[in-house]
Symmetry: C2
Amino acid sequence: MAESKSDIIAQDIAAKIQHHQFKAGEFLPSESQLTTLYGSSRETVRKALNQLTALGLIQKIRGKGSIVLNLEKYSFPISGISSFAELNKSLGMHAQTKVITLKKMADMPELFKEKFPEQKKQAGFYLERLRMVNDEPAVLDCDYLFTPPINDLPKEAAERSIYDYIENELKLDISYATKVITVEKINNDFQKLLQLDDSLAVLVASHNFLSDTTLFQLTLSFHNPQKFKFTDFARRQKIKL
Amino acid sequence: MAESKSDIIAQDIAAKIQHHQFKAGEFLPSESQLTTLYGSSRETVRKALNQLTALGLIQKIRGKGSIVLNLEKYSFPISGISSFAELNKSLGMHAQTKVITLKKMADMPELFKEKFPEQKKQAGFYLERLRMVNDEPAVLDCDYLFTPPINDLPKEAAERSIYDYIENELKLDISYATKVITVEKINNDFQKLLQLDDSLAVLVASHNFLSDTTLFQLTLSFHNPQKFKFTDFARRQKIKL
DNA sequence: AAGTGGTCTAGACCACAAT
DNA sequence: TTGTGGTCTAGACCACTTA
């Protein structure tokens, strides 16, 4: 992946925090110590530490040092764009994916036209998957992947991880996403699939982009409200918008 | 405030994007141009651009330039720790805050003990506020502010903005927060206050910290599900956790 | 006074895009 | 080849904490 030196340092320190080699509440080695430890310049070390700060792994305190934050205590943040497959791996849940629909279409299905009215007609793949956690339906994921740049989508990729397929097979660079979380009424079919008593579900709607700003995927995730949990780590904004 | 040079540059460019002086889909001046424009080194300009990248205002493309992203199109992200008062200002909604309860306590109310069972007994201020948007109840905010470091909390501050009070009067440095969003049943009192037909509400529970990692505030925000909307901008994670 | 993080600089070299 | 962003460096100076 051509990782930079600062990424490697960040990765290494992150792993050591995860494995409690650096413990919560304690200080990391000082920047000058890390500089000699990793054989790099101070700015490079600082770049790595800034990544960890943004993730909520550490907090830097001027004059004192970088303290390791207690993640587990406040429910660990799952931010960034994470796919379902990746989520399972990092948490250790018994999860399963059932592909309900996978088909090529000349235009988006009605559901997407309704939820994303600003989108123009475009060919793509429609994918519907039910996510089971501990053998109970938890999430219904509906994806629409635009056909350029996604020209093919094998069923195996849909069952395993489309992000892995897109990044490693198609060599596309997934970069960022905008997400909107709301509570909505859903249709009977979906209600049955999710085995809900009520018609209300949590909807996470997202636009997903490549690094060249191409919109390549729209997603509608319908969550069982009882099982829905979204955690976030946020730093106070310096820049006023 | 002691703003750094890179913060000023970031602020300035952000403002120009907001005012459409730099338009969505177009490129910013190149880094070397910005360097001469702001009379700073390239690394300082890059630091500013990195902030804008993290916020989702721009996307950098190697060999081409930094492109301004279209925020409005995909519902503008309100991330970071934002207070209700600040939110109103940046969006332009007619909003109002009614203080229902404000009292000093020797220990947390039952509701907080239930939702934050890991917390020990500690004195503080309990604050209950109803947020009205367009004259309809939208959010019920319940706060518990620990008494060190919050030793006093005037009613005016609660009505206006406790964050403004904490930062500008008490001179404390609010730094980060962890948030968890779930859907929960609420009690009858809250249901009436929010004028809900159903007993389900969206709960945003947060731990709020100062820059020295002190936990100073717990918040339980109960949202009317019909009016709830949470938007997020997320970049793909390089570091695996 | 010594150690820590915060900021800024000037310059170097690389990778990629456009021509 | 030229211009763009990506990374790294060595050094400087400042602000804060601790002793």
